[in-house]
């Protein structure tokens, strides 16, 4: 699948950009030319050789802060997506096999989650649980789970009621065989697509949260945090807030592009949202009255 994604120009662009971002996450703080925390009297300095993006209102090197903040932002977004994956996909698949009660219960739970507004809930929960990044990520992860639930449920539904699974069963296939050979290939692509979208969404939410001051405490840097703290000085030193904003936009855009590319090559577009009940093996519908 990776090969096919790379064969698309959108896939190449997306992977290219995201690889750079990933490198930033890993090597960010090492690559920073200056210590991001060191203040200096050169406040709001413009771009120069020693300060590639100038300095912020405390004289700290913007570029270094950006690099240092990469890890927190990126790791945060990925963590959120992973939490959403587990909280969403597992009940999604199980809802098809564990009976009507479980199905109903999870569907209603997911419907409730969808109706909650992200940021308000994240803010409220962190207010309750204390201002820590872990709590915030957990909450956001759970809030983003419904997409995974729906996607994995839809894929499982279509496989569960399919005739090719029955054909395998007629030949004596065990449930494990069916999952390995038939279910996996149908569930993986839509999950991969949703993962890419969710990482992008996770980025936006985490950045928004840190913009609002929730999560990572200053002076530690995150992109959202940088954006918020330097926004007031926009007129004097635009690079400080603009740079993280641009990075956020580009990263999210690349995530969405990647999701599109995966979706295009796996031909699973548009099948994500369905609350259809699986056709348990009933005989054919009988005609009413005379035929």
């Amino acid at each position: 699948m990776i090969r096919r994604v790379l064969s698309q120009p959108t896939g190449r662009i997306a992977v290219g950009i995201l690889s750079v971002i990933a490198l930033l996450a890993i090597f960010g703080s090492v690559l920073a030319p200056q210590n991001p925390l060191t203040t200096s009297p050169a406040q709001l300095a413009p771009i120069s050789a020693s300060h590639w993006l100038g300095t912020d209102y405390l004289g700290r090197d913007t570029f270094s802060r950006l690099l240092a903040g990469s890890r927190a932002s990126i790791v945060g977004a990925v963590e959120v997506a992973v939490i959403a994956l587990f909280v969403g996909a597992i009940p999604g698949v199980l809802s098809v096999y564990l009976g009507r009660v479980f199905e109903w219960a999870t569907l209603r739970l997911i419907d409730t989650l969808i109706s909650l507004p992200f940021l308000l809930v994240a803010v409220a929960v962190t207010a309750l649980l204390g201002n820590g990044i872990t709590q915030a990520l957990l909450v956001v992860g759970v809030l983003l789970a419904p997409a995974f639930y729906r996607v994995s449920r839809a894929a499982s539904l279509s496989v569960a009621s399919s005739q090719y699974v029955e054909a395998a069963q007629i030949s004596g296939a065990s449930p494990a065989w069916v999952v390995r050979r038939h279910v996996w290939s149908k569930v993986l692509p839509p999950i991969a697509v949703t993962m890419a979208y969710t990482v992008g969404a996770g980025f936006v939410v985490v950045s928004s949260l840190s913009f609002l001051g929730i999560g990572v405490e200053p002076p530690a840097a995150t992109w959202g945090g940088l954006l918020s703290s330097d926004l007031s000085y926009l007129a004097y030193q635009p690079w400080a807030p603009v740079a993280p904003a641009v990075l956020i936009v580009v990263t999210v855009w690349a995530c969405n592009l990647l999701a599109d590319a995966i979706r295009d090559v796996s031909g699973q577009a548009g099948r994500a949202f369905s609350n259809r009940r699986p056709k348990r093996r009933r005989p054919l519908a009988l005609p009413q009255g005379g035929a």
């Binding site: 005609p287 009413q288 009255g289 005379g290 035929a291």
Partner: protein, 291 residues
């Protein structure tokens, strides 16, 4: 719409329509403007009131396109490139959109394969037929309903009152096709085209629908065009048969001539297949001779 756009070449020299014929198809050629390929290479037949003409051919032979041309519903890129179609004395090429709307349903009507897809699934079937009547005959709601019940009776549906209020999904294939026939004859057309109308039905149900068409023909003088891929289906109902293969009419004659004295080898092949794989092989003696 293909007809309103007119023909591409000048009218070919063709015999004048037979007097008294309801529908006259004269040397009609149909061309695909997109690929610039001719698909139907000259088909002609006349239909007098109360008569039935059958067209037999495989999928892709052009039989359905001919029906669509007669109904004025050819896809945009297909045109009648030569020949003429006359209905009730009027040349269909000269009709405006308004005139077409007028004659559809009241002069000529049609039923197709897969009846369910021609009905709105969220409205009961009765009101859908009533709508046809109210639009075409300009009568009020109550009278329309009465006429619908009458129509449902005339297509031999049992319990017309309850069928009136049922939804498409509650009715079997055979019942749905009857409902559509009822809708098709609601405005008392003179010609009914049945394009593969029984292809998807069980054999007993198919016989019912074919018998119904024969009965309608006898009772009301309705003229029929029956299109099928099975020669026996056409032979059951029609007086005259055309066999079409890849756009060419390879056989044209009375049913008796075609069945007992087929000229073209393709017709002979169709007959041979029936005799080899059909029920004929097992019937020891003609039914009349058995006690």
């Amino acid at each position: 719409m293909a007809f309103a756009a007119g023909r591409e070449t000048g009218s070919t020299v063709a015999a004048r329509p037979v007097a008294g014929a309801l529908l006259s198809v004269r040397d009609v050629h149909i061309r695909d403007r997109g690929t610039d390929r001719e698909i139907v290479h000259g088909i002609s037949f006349d239909l007098a009131p109360g008569k039935a003409v059958g067209i037999v051919g495989e999928s892709g032979s052009g039989k359905t396109l001919t029906c669509r041309a007669v109904l004025g519903i050819l896809p945009d890129q297909l045109v009648v490139s030569a020949g003429s179609i006359t209905l009730g004395g009027r040349d269909l090429a000269t009709l405006s959109v308004k005139q077409w709307t007028e004659i559809r349903g009241s002069t000529i009507s049609a039923v197709f394969q897969d009846p369910a897809s021609y009905l709105n699934p969220s409205i009961p079937v009765g009101p859908q037929i009533a709508e046809v009547i109210r639009v075409k005959k300009k009568v009020g709601r109550r009278e329309a309903r009465d006429r619908v019940l009458e129509l449902l009776r005339s297509v031999r549906l049992r319990g017309p009152e309850s069928v009136y209020g049922q939804y498409a999904y509650e009715l079997s294939g055979g019942m749905l096709q009857r409902v559509l026939i009822a809708a098709a004859i609601a405005a008392d057309p003179k010609v009914l085209i049945a394009d593969e109308a029984t292809t998807a039905l069980d054999v007993t149900v198919q016989a019912e629908i074919l018998d119904l068409l024969a009965e309608l023909r006898e009772r009301t003088g309705l003229a029929l065009v029956v299109v099928a891929h099975d020669l026996a289906v056409v032979a059951q109902v029609c007086d005259e048969v055309l066999v079409i293969r890849e756009g060419d009419v390879v056989e044209h004659g009375t049913t008796e001539d075609v069945l007992y004295r087929p000229q073209h080898e393709y017709t002979q092949l169709l007959i041979a297949e029936h005799e080899q794989y059909g029920l004929e092989r097992f019937l020891d003696a003609p039914r009349e001779e058995r006690a």
